[in-house]
């Protein structure tokens, strides 16, 4: 598998580290115990389109959001995670 880093170009998987699901959103302060439990522990085991965080630690050290299909390994988009490369994403 290769990932096209928006900053570096196409690179081998070995330069990247997987963080996890990019879908869960941190609950607001004062959220219910169920919401927090869900955020911290519960993950879907998706067969199909997923959104994941990857870290280009062996390259430009940017955090990336990768849209990937777990059935085909096809990557449909790679974008900088919020805050990575302020000039590029206008953060």
């Amino acid at each position: 598998m290769r990932i096209v880093c928006p900053f570096c170009g196409e690179r081998e998987l070995g330069e990247f580290t997987y963080l996890g699901d990019a879908k869960p959103v941190r609950p607001v302060a004062g959220a219910s115990e169920d919401e927090v439990f869900d955020y911290v522990y519960l993950r879907d085991n998706v067969a199909g389109a997923t959104s994941e965080y990857w870290y280009h630690g062996g390259g430009c050290r940017a955090w990336l959001k990768v849209a990937r299909n777990t059935l085909t390994h096809e990557i449909s988009s790679v974008e900088p995670a919020l805050g990575a490369g302020a000039a590029r994403v206008g953060a």
Binding site: F7, C8, R11, E15, R61, P80, A86, A91
Partner: protein, 209 residues
């Protein structure tokens, strides 16, 4: 308070043995030259200040700092892309140090002195690209990676900054490599192993190529 005197030493001073290595009876296909005693400052834009940094860098260096994987030559320094909104300033002779760069750049950027945190190795020779192909997945063919190209990448699981400098006087391509000081010896041995079959010419220099 006690007085300390700090002596800077090359991280390769034990591993690097000048002379020839590997295949004998052939003209060395790979030249490895460690460059010693350089000034290296990393400049990273503060959050939301990338445009201001670009402006300040232009005023300071007279050329635009790289905003993509490139190495840019100024009159007395090389600016090397090291990631989004960040670059290295590589120079000699205390022209661009923390003291001299901070007034110009520290408002829009964080500066950190990496002069003693990296080893700098110049790689050239007729077999340089073939040797590097054993260690790097980057396509270094001159059509893809011409003079001024740079990459933040990994070689032998070690993060490096790799860029193609100007050609040597004999027309050979020159690849420059910055590697963390503590990983330099390991990567050096890996490169020697990869280059041995072509014959290696080993040296060190005080001059930036």
């Amino acid at each position: 308070m006690a007085d300390f005197s700090w002596v800077s030493r090359s991280p390769l001073e034990h591993a690097l043995v000048t002379g020839t290595h590997g295949a004998r009876g052939v003209e060395a296909g790979v030249s490895l030259t460690e460059i010693r005693n350089f000034d290296l400052i990393q400049v990273m834009a503060r959050r939301g200040q990338a445009a201001e940094l670009a402006k300040a860098a232009m005023a300071r260096f007279g050329v635009a700092a790289p905003d993509a994987p490139k190495a840019v030559q100024t009159s007395d320094a090389t600016l090397i892309w090291s990631g989004p909104d960040q670059f290295f300033v590589l120079s000699k002779g205390s022209k661009h140090t923390m003291q001299t760069l901070a007034p110009a750049l520290s408002s829009p950027a964080s500066l950190s002195d990496q002069s003693h945190a990296r080893a700098l190795i110049g790689i050239s020779g007729s077999k340089a690209r073939i040797m590097l192909a054993k260690l790097s997945s980057i396509d270094l063919h001159p059509e893809v990676f011409p003079i001024g190209s740079a990459a933040a990448t990994s070689m032998d699981h070690t993060s490096v900054t790799l860029w193609r400098g100007g050609n040597r006087p004999d027309g050979q391509a020159l690849f420059n490599l910055l590697v963390f000081a503590t990983f330099a010896e390991s990567l050096w041995h890996t490169m020697l192993d990869a280059a041995a079959e072509y014959g290696v010419d080993i040296s060190h220099s005080e001059e930036l190529a």
